[in-house]
């Protein structure tokens, strides 16, 4: 039985939570099926990515201040999964799933939230599992400051959320953006803070580079993990302001995109 539509915020939140969960379960079974390792791919796919990159680049002899390339990548590359893979998943999410909107409790934004939730869960789980393994085999150490590292990871996730919402909305509004989105993602790599830590960048380039919020987020994450072993550069207030701004812009743009959805049928 359906209960009457109620207007209280908590009641509505209950519906939304239920809907998002339903969409997450649906997406999981659709994407991974019930055969083979199935849902484990959610963790396995990003994990393979990280391990692959570490195998290729980790062999480069470039230990600085006792930090090997493998160790550096182990706590850098996982951040990319959050913003890059998720962007791919939300592209055209509205258009593809427009028919689901006939189900009245399903609101368009839930399509975004469910995909982001699923992708983030996979990214976080694969990072945590790999990290524990890396500590066990001696590639990584325990973090210098767990709280700071968690905060940094949270900041990367927050940045990714805003970024993904903006890209998702744009992919809906413009075919051109949808087509070049993988180019944008690729060109973002130098500004992602993963390949080169800020302290290695010549001073005159460092300040302009630090205007990118993502580098600040990754530097915070690094600060938590490496502690005194690496010099890090970031501004918490600046990054929070930009993240707030991006989240706001993302939400507004998604609303605009939603107004423009046209069902095929």
């Amino acid at each position: 039985m359906i209960t009457r539509p109620k207007t209280s915020f908590l009641y509505q939140l209950g519906i939304q939570r239920r809907v998002i969960w339903a969409l997450v379960m649906r997406e999981m079974i659709t994407r991974y099926g019930r055969e083979g390792i199935g849902v484990l791919w959610l963790v396995g796919e990003p994990a393979l990515f990280i391990v692959g990159v570490m195998v290729i680049f980790g062999s480069i002899e470039g230990a600085r201040n006792g930090i090997s390339m493998a160790e550096y990548l182990a706590v850098s590359y996982p951040t990319i999964i959050l913003w890059r893979n998720t962007t791919g998943r939300v592209a055209k999410a509205l258009e593809v799933n427009a028919a689901l909107l006939h189900l009245n409790p399903v609101r368009p934004i839930d399509l975004y939230y469910s995909r982001i939730f699923l992708e983030f869960s996979g990214a976080i789980a694969s990072f945590l599992i790999l990290y524990l393994i890396f500590v066990a085999v001696g590639i990584c150490q325990w973090p210098a400051d767990v709280l700071m590292m968690t905060f940094g990871y949270f900041m990367v996730a927050w940045f990714s959320f805003g970024f993904v919402m903006i890209m998702g909305a744009l992919s809906e509004m413009s075919e051109t953006i949808d087509r070049i989105s993988h180019i944008i993602l690729y060109l973002m790599l130098p500004f992602s803070g993963i390949f080169v830590p800020a302290y290695l960048v010549p001073a005159q380039y460092r300040d302009p580079l630090l205007l990118t919020p993502l580098i600040n987020c990754v530097e915070m994450f690094h600060a938590g993990y490496f502690g005194d072993r690496m010099h890090t550069y970031y501004s918490i207030t600046y990054t929070i302001s930009i993240n707030l701004l991006m989240t706001f812009a993302g939400l507004v743009m998604v609303q605009i995109a939603i107004r423009r959805v046209k069902l095929v049928k």
Binding site: M1, I2, A99, L101, H102, R259, K262
Partner: protein, 217 residues
């Protein structure tokens, strides 16, 4: 009650360089238990109106007030994920509408008569089979208002009769909005009617009046 107040809806045409107004100043009020028939020729905007009412799309301006639960357009199979089994699709609906899965599944098994197919991906279904599934699922959620788009082309004759009974007899206390070309459907089942032409909705006093006007279009 379901209320459409001054609804306008436009779609971009010519690659977004211009807009076409599909619905102009639509006003409609559907009370509990009322059965509305909306008549209109192809392209008059009937399906757009249904999409706005179901909530799948949003009006350009105006307001839609719903305090009834509203179904998706009946026998609409588009919400189905082809790679999922019939059973998984039932599960999705149950999760979204917060209804008991076991009960719902028992009803769907009995009503849709799809047997072992329920455990197969929907993409292996014939179109008749998937509309059976869609109809059975819509009957297992107790909506206050049913949307019916373009005559319910559901399965064979016997199943069609079964659907009519389930919808019009057993649920005769519910509101309904039927959008169709088929006069009989609207004549037999509606107590209110309106004609949609060139994006404008005109409400007539009796169903016969509306049918008369529509036939003269």
């Amino acid at each position: 009650m379901l209320e459409l107040v001054n609804i306008y809806k436009s779609y971009p045409i010519h690659h977004g360089k211009a807009e076409r107004m599909v619905l102009k100043n639509i006003n409609l009020r559907v009370e509990k238990g009322q059965r509305w028939g909306i008549l209109g020729r192809n392209g008059a905007g009937k399906s757009t109106m249904i999409r706005l009412i179901s909530g799948a799309e949003f009006p350009h301006s105006g307001k839609i007030n719903r305090d009834m639960t509203i179904s998706w357009p009946l026998a609409f199979g588009g919400t189905f994920q082809g790679s999922l089994t019939g059973r998984d699709n039932v599960k999705l609906i149950c999760r979204i509408y917060n209804i008991d899965f076991k009960e719902c599944m028992a009803f769907v098994e009995e009503f849709a008569e799809l047997g072992a197919y329920l455990r197969e991906p929907v993409k292996n279904y014939s179109s008749g089979m998937s509309s059976r599934l869609a109809f059975a699922i819509s009957m297992s959620v107790e909506f206050d208002c049913f949307l019916i788009d373009e005559g319910m082309a559901v399965g064979d004759h016997r199943f069609h009769q079964k659907c009519k009974y389930e919808l019009f007899e057993k649920r005769s206390d519910r509101a309904m909005i039927i959008v169709a070309h088929q006069m009989e459907l609207i004549r037999d089942h509606c107590d209110h009617a309106a004609v949609l032409e060139n994006g404008e909705l005109t409400i007539y006093d009796t169903v016969e009046d509306a049918i008369g006007i529509y036939n003269a279009l």
